[in-house]
């Protein structure tokens, strides 16, 4: 027996009579409506990107400033490396008189330079006068 399409469709429509049990319908509804709905998590929108970038930039700037301040503080207050203590070296030189010798040498050569200049000037004047 071949069932024609129209007859087939009529039979399938009968399946519309399938309905859930009434107590199931009622119980499920009561359960669902007693539950809280999940709150919506706001999605990132294009408008929020500007604020986000600003916040990131501000945070980065604060971080850089904090690092610089920290480094500066460290440089000022940190004790020099062991074995490389300028104050101690200077004080040692001062106490040993070496630094005074060094300074004296500088003064000497500075004076010597001036004396030579004066001498050269005199020579050049004398030669001009002669000729």
């Amino acid at each position: 027996m071949k069932m024609h399409e129209k007859e087939l469709l009529e039979h399938m429509k009968r399946f519309k009579r399938i309905v859930p049990r009434q107590d199931f319908v009622y119980t499920l509804k009561q359960e669902l409506l007693s539950l809280p709905m999940l709150t919506k998590i706001p999605a990132a929108t294009p408008r929020s990107w500007g604020a986000f970038r600003l916040a990131v930039s501000f945070g980065a700037a604060i971080l850089v400033i904090a690092v610089w301040v920290g480094l500066y503080g460290e440089l000022r207050h940190t004790e020099n490396l062991a074995g490389f203590n300028n104050k101690e070296i200077l004080s040692e030189l001062a106490s040993s008189g070496d630094i005074n010798i060094y300074i004296n040498e500088i003064e000497y050569y500075d004076e010597a330079h001036k004396t030579i200049d004066v001498a050269l000037n005199e020579i050049s004047k004398n030669q001009k006068n002669k000729y």
Binding site: K2, R17, I18, P20
Partner: protein, 185 residues
Amino acid sequence: MLQDESGLIARAQKGGRDAFGKLYDHYLPKIYRFVFLKVTNREEAEDICHQVFLSAWQNIHSYQEVGYPFSSWLYRIARNAVIDFYRTKKQHTDLEDVVDLIPSDADTSAQTEATLASERVLRAMARLNEDQRELLVMRYVEELDNKEIKSILGKSEGAIRILQFRAIKNLQRVLAEESLKDTYI
């Protein structure tokens, strides 16, 4: 579609339980029937419907009517729930349950004959592949149009028409084979 469905959805999205209740009252029988004709077991259909409407209530805020209606959204949730069900549980195929649930208008021989014929159609449908069976339920039981079926299945309208044609032809073929078997037994 339910009257003032957009308004009900908007109110439900803001937490309006009464509004969701009305959506539930309208769509539960349809979703239940759709699921039941796929799993052919009352308890399993109830479990799946429970998951579907729980998910719908908890995620209704994420629904946006962008090209497909609310019913399509529900059918998609139901479809996915049935797929998950097939993955985790062995399918329980008991067509006796289904036939018993088709009420007759009157206890006449004509109605008995009609019920028996419906049973044959159901058994034949169970022998079709999942896609074809699902399409027949959506098109001829739930009477969804091809546009809505397209938004649920994610197939083109052309593909749906071809699937529909093949489903009907296969159903007729299976019924004819069953009928021949009955003749020679």
